[in-house]
Symmetry: C2
Subunit: 298 residues, 2 copies
């Protein structure tokens, strides 16, 4: 059997998660219909699905059945989608464009966007609470606890709060890193470890390596995001470019400068690949995903 190339694998799994999300989201004619339409609008038809791809890649590494990993991939994408909806609200980043479309609160209204985000978070836990994602139900309970931690005040939502508090302030590299390890990193790490938990073939040393890879690649993701925000166009990004500078936010570009930020992303890529070396197949698709994340142009 010829191994499919990375772009083919990525496309296959992007299409797969799109189908899975379409299935787990309530139908758009089911009451309350407008709420369900807003949920589907915000989740479907866009995004690179980096978190889902990381989950699938980690699942493959642990010999997990992909029908199990589907649930993890969907759960992390639902959490991500909810965070984007709430992030774009007027009281937060006050944005109008997301994934090349009007934000949820522009297309619908603020109240609907608020409730759509809230409902997507509930749905994420619901999807991860379907029976049988690991042979041992107790492991699945741990997965649910891990997702709760990654999403909550000591994870993603906490990172948003640190971000808010830091607006207009000059952060050090260490403070910036702390913010992003929460804001972006926590969910990316969870995507990888939860994906791997759908299988049973990795030992605890492998999990440590995986978790370190997740930490490094989560940070790399954000460094590249900051570089692209400063470097790319709104059309290429599908969201408002140059926003960080406008909002007077500290980013890796404002703190390190564009050149050193790009170099830092490269170093993190090397570090990420090093973390994968001890894993079966040198981390398989995860190594290619690390390149995909660091070398992306949007």
């Amino acid at each position: 059997m010829t191994k499919i190339d990375f772009p083919g694998w990525a496309r296959l799994h992007q299409e797969r998660i799109e189908r899975v999300l379409g299935d787990v989201l309530p139908a758009s004619d089911l009451e309350p219909a407008v709420l369900h339409q807003a949920m589907r609008y915000s989740v479907l038809g866009g995004g690179k699905r980096v978190r889902a791809l990381l989950a699938y890649a980690a699942g493959e590494l642990a010999d997990a059945d992909a029908t199990r990993t589907d649930h993890v991939a969907a759960a992390v994408e639902l959490i991500h989608a909810y965070s984007l909806i709430h992030d774009d609200l007027p009281c937060m980043d006050d944005d109008i464009l997301r994934r090349g479309k009007p934000c949820c609160h522009i297309e619908y209204d603020e109240a609907t966007a608020l409730l759509a985000g809230d409902s997507l978070q509930s749905l994420a836990f619901g999807v991860l609470a379907q029976q049988g994602l690991n042979d041992a139900p107790a492991v699945q309970i741990t997965m649910l606890a891990d997702l709760a931690r990654a999403a909550g005040s000591r994870g993603m939502a906490g990172g948003q709060a640190i971000d808010l508090a830091s607006e207009g302030q000059s952060l050090s590299v260490a403070e910036l890193e702390l913010m992003h390890i929460h804001k972006t990193g926590a969910l990316i790490r969870a995507s990888i470890t939860l994906g791997a938990r759908c299988g049973n073939s990795l030992d605890s040393t492998a999990f440590d390596h995986l978790d370190h890879f997740g930490k490094v690649i989560g940070l790399a993701f954000q460094v590249v995001d900051d570089v692209l925000d400063a470097d790319a166009t709104t059309a290429a990004l599908g969201k408002t470019a140059g926003k960080d500078a406008l909002q007077n936010k500290s980013t890796y570009v404002t703190v390190l400068g564009l050149g050193r930020a790009k170099a830092f992303a490269g170093e993190l890529r090397t570090e990420a690949r090093r973390a994968l070396r001890a894993l079966p197949g040198k981390g398989g698709r995860l190594a290619e995903l690390a390149d995909f994340i660091v070398l992306r142009q949007a």
Copy 2:
């Protein structure tokens, strides 16, 4: 052993859930500190804790260890508290007073209130995902799925959406009932069934009776809420009274009239007690809680 009277039992368990919530909420000096302070501000020191009391009462009925039921009681109170924070935001009900104190977005700011609500939802699932709430981990996974359903677009958040869509419209009794079965009823039912799932002594017939009791008492709770909103003072309620009329909302009082709404609450109380008759000890504390809910003055 003399059985403690209901007010004593209720006070004991109100104090107990307060301690439990204080323990599961992140400390107020833990970073991000303002977010954690906002979470504690919104959850602690107030409320009748009806949902927690229902969980404890149902747990007792199923011979559950109260240290297990603690998790269910905390989870439903956290979900309830998050929903109140988001409900009070300017884009929703735009309120300023809750439990006799300024709302979270007044005391802090809108963005912090949004994130505090989001984080409380994550925390609720985290608390319910601590190992060992039922002897069978698979049952606990079902409990997590049940909470997700009760909180999400086909439960509480969906009820909010129906509520929003119905503003300024005249609802029929059936439409009003549908809204409240989602908005208030879903979480109240879940409080009861999840509490009972911490034990192992009830059969599926008993669960059916419990669930019917939950449906009826959830509705009764809302009818009484509508009566009090029309009848009581802001000082007595600890939240803005007369709000429904101001917002031109359909309530049981506007649809049925005050007298018939009060009579309907009485009928639901009778129906609730009937549902308990087949249960051990005629439903134990649940019967007294039904009275507490229907006969309360605030």
